[in-house]
Each structure stands twice: as structure tokens, then as C-alpha cells.
């Protein structure tokens, strides 16, 4: 491996914009989509949105342990198409995945095809136009798309997990290409913002990031009582084909993203966020008889209390109600979703540093 340097190398590319883009593709630095070439001018504009020095080292990106500097993150953010004012959100997301309990190297290499999901809370979401409304998971909304993509490019280019190398996803999901970044729909949530429920000040802007296996949709377009919506949600999440039921001891989070209509009906039925989380923890369980000999049974990580000799023992989807990240996201309509974390990724939170 070459010597560690805190500054990114400079290359001179002959030719026009398209030739520069093709050069970056040939070097293996893109995700299959065209990128904006990270010229010194564009990277410098990005760097204006942080007080940190360009050569500050944030850490090493697993699995191939590339040195993550502020400047290299900025270059990848330019390539992803970010506006400079998005940079604080990108940086916070990168700092989150570098936290040890995120296990970013595992998430990048696993056959499980996990990809980072970024939830943005706080005033910065409104200011930048990060959507928590209509089509927020994948609606070609610029900040959502480019911030998610920037994190994936940083992971890919500095961590080095690429197809035909250490990227081993059996199938992956589109989040592996451009990530998945959305804001909580705080304006239409019946509850306090998610980050406030986790102890952050309302005026703070925060990212919660976790590597997820995909987006599992839950439609309920007939029931209009909160209780009816909850029943459908619980039934949908008692889903055998996800290994999360076998991975409880790894303390994996589980995102439950309720659309505003479902959330409001559930709140009207008398549920606060905490009560709903407690109910999901109590009810989203599968009996041991369904889990023995299936999915990831051989690698199960169950606590002592799970009595395998009793086929009716009900195994919860997560270790504690706290591991359920309950947020409100989406626009009009009756479609919610859940996103199980993958493998050993416990997720991470960072406060967004604004200048």
C-alpha cells in the first residue's frame, strides 16, 4: 500500500468535460453513473462549508482502509453532484459510518447487500430541501439523491469495496448505488421529532445512519383506525425471510417509517411513539418453531432467555424497544415501510456541524 498522505493527489486531464468523466470511470472511481469531475475550484467551494482543515484525517475506511480526509470527502461530494451547502450533512454521514459500532467494512462486503440509510432531522433538512415528503426514498430529489450518493462514493472509493473485489452482495439493492437519504417529515408527524426522542435538542440538526437490507413496504389502504393500521404493520413485519430475527444479540436497529396518514391515525388511537415502539417490540415476534432450521439459524445470535426447547417461545425482531427507530416519512397516501439493519451494523448518530 502506498504511503498515507493527508492530501488528495492532483491529476491533470487533457480534454473536455466528457473526457474527464470517462477518465474517472476508467480509474474505477464512479458508481456506474456519470460524475462531476472534482476540480480544485469545485472542491474548494465545498470546503467553505466546514471549519475543519482539508487535511484532517477522519479515519480509515474499511475494508481496504483508505485514509478519509475532509478534502477527499469533498471531492466525492462534488462527484456525487452535491451543492456545497449539503457538505455538512455529507460529512456528518461519513463520520457516522466511521464509528466503530457501524462496522462499515462488514456492511460493504457482506453478501447481504446492505447499504447506508441516512435519516436527517432538524432545521437543516428544511433549509436544504432534503425531502421527507412525497417520494422521499427515491424520487429524484436532488439533496436526497446526491447526499446519499456522496456517502456511497466515499465508502466505495476510499473503502475500496467494489464488484469483482471485496463487494460481495449477492444481489444488493439500489441503495447500494446511491444510498438512501431522507428527512423525517417533522411537519406532518404527530409526535416530537425523532432526534428529540433520542435526546437531541429540537434546534439541533442530526443524522442517524444505519446499513439496511432494503425497503419493505407496508400498504394499508382500507383500515383507517390506528389499531387497524398497527395490526397490518405487525403482520407485515412478522416476515420469515429476513435474518434480523436471528441477529437480535447484535443490537441491530430497525427503521419503521410511517407515512403521515398512518402515523396520525395511530396517534389518534392514543399511541405515543414510545407506546407504539413497546407494542411493536411485544408483537413483532416469530415463534421458535418457525425460526429453527431456517434463514440464519446456524449463525443465530439469541440471548440466553430464548428457550429453544419450547417451540412456542416468541423471538422479537430486535433486542429492545429502543432499537426501533420510529420515524414519519412520506407524502399523501397509505404506504409505510420498514427497513431492517444488516448483520452487525448497530447504526450511528452524528450532529451536523453547520458554519
Amino acid at each position: 500500500m502506498s504511503a498515507v498522505t493527508a492530501r488528495a493527489s492532483r491529476r491533470t486531464i487533457e480534454g473536455d468535460f466528457v473526457e474527464a468523466v470517462r477518465y474517472l470511470e476508467r480509474e474505477g472511481w464512479t458508481d456506474g453513473l456519470p460524475v462531476i469531475p472534482p476540480t480544485e475550484t469545485l472542491v474548494a467551494e465545498m470546503l467553505r462549508y466546514t471549519k475543519r482543515a482539508p487535511d484532517e484525517v477522519l479515519g480509515r475506511m474499511e475494508p481496504l482502509r483508505g485514509t478519509v480526509t475532509i478534502e477527499k470527502v469533498a471531492a466525492n461530494a462534488v462527484m456525487a453532484g452535491c451543492e456545497p451547502e449539503y457538505f455538512p450533512v455529507v460529512l456528518a454521514s461519513v463520520r457516522a459510518v466511521l464509528q466503530p459500532q457501524f462496522h462499515v467494512g462488514s456492511t460493504a462486503c457482506t453478501t447481504g447487500g446492505s447499504a447506508p440509510t441516512i435519516i436527517v432531522n432538524g432545521p437543516i433538512a428544511r433549509r436544504l430541501g432534503i425531502s421527507g415528503g412525497t417520494a422521499c426514498f427515491g424520487g429524484n430529489i436532488k439533496p436526497n439523491a446526491t447526499i446519499g450518493r456522496a456517502l456511497r462514493l466515499v465508502m466505495r472509493n476510499l473503502g475500496g469495496a467494489k464488484p469483482d473485489g471485496m463487494e460481495k452482495s449477492t444481489q444488493a439493492w439500489p441503495g447500494k448505488a446511491v444510498g438512501c437519504c431522507f428527512a423525517e417529515n417533522e411537519a406532518r408527524s404527530p409526535w416530537e421529532p425523532f432526534h428529540v426522542s433520542r435526546g437531541y435538542a429540537r434546534e439541533a440538526s442530526v443524522v442517524h445512519v444505519v446499513a439496511t437490507r432494503g425497503i419493505y413496504p407496508v400498504t394499508e389502504g382500507t383500515q383507517t383506525t390506528g389499531q387497524g393500521v398497527i395490526e397490518t404493520l405487525v403482520a407485515a413485519m412478522r416476515y420469515l425471510g429476513t435474518p434480523i430475527f436471528h441477529q437480535m444479540r447484535n443490537r441491530l436497529p430497525l427503521i419503521v417509517a410511517l407515512c403521515p396518514e398512518h402515523a396520525q391515525e395511530i396517534a389518534k388511537a392514543g399511541f405515543g411513539r414510545e407506546q407504539l415502539r413497546d407494542l411493536l417490540y411485544a408483537e413483532v415476534r416469530l415463534p421458535v418453531r418457525d425460526l429453527i432450521g431456517r434463514v440464519y439459524y446456524g449463525a443465530r445470535a439469541w440471548p440466553e432467555w430464548v428457550d429453544e426447547s419450547d417451540p412456542e417461545t416468541r423471538v422479537p425482531i430486535v433486542a429492545t424497544p429502543d432499537d426501533i427507530w420510529l420515524v414519519v416519512a412520506g407524502g399523501d397516501g397509505r404506504h409505510s415501510a420498514w427497513m431492517p439493519a444488516w448483520g452487525v451494523c448497530q447504526g450511528a448518530t452524528e450532529v451536523i456541524e453547520e458554519i
Binding site: 481496504l64 482502509r65 462486503c109 471485496m166 440464519y296
Partner: protein, 67 residues
């Protein structure tokens, strides 16, 4: 372990050989020995895994001693 002076060998399934090479190089251990076993592993029964371990033991030992 190797960096701490203890001989080590990595056992991977065939599907992960390329990944193991890349990772070893990234850790500055390009010569790190590697034993490949059949893929997949996760879906095998305990007794099958045990047999694979027994079958691989001699080559693991040889790789450790050679170094």
C-alpha cells in the same frame, strides 16, 4: 495475529478468495496464507462443517508450519 508475531492462516470459502487477497494486501500482508474451502458454508449442518474442518486441518497446519 501475524503482525503480533504469531503465525496465522485465513480460511475462506472459494467465493471469498479474491476479497481475502485484497484485504490481506490492504493490511500490508500480501503473502498471508489462505486456505480455500467449498462454498457456501452458512447453509451446512454442524456435522458437515465439522467434516470440512477436519479435511482442511492438515493444509492449515502445513501453512502455519511452513512459515
Amino acid at each position: 495475529m501475524e503482525q503480533q508475531g504469531r503465525p496465522a492462516v485465513t480460511v475462506v470459502t472459494e467465493a471469498f478468495q479474491q476479497a481475502a487477497v485484497a484485504r490481506a494486501a490492504a493490511l500490508g500482508l500480501p503473502e498471508h496464507p489462505r486456505i480455500a474451502i467449498a462454498h457456501p458454508l452458512a447453509s451446512r449442518r454442524g456435522d458437515e462443517v465439522e467434516k470440512m474442518a477436519v479435511d482442511a486441518a492438515a493444509s492449515v497446519a502445513a501453512a502455519l508450519v511452513k512459515r
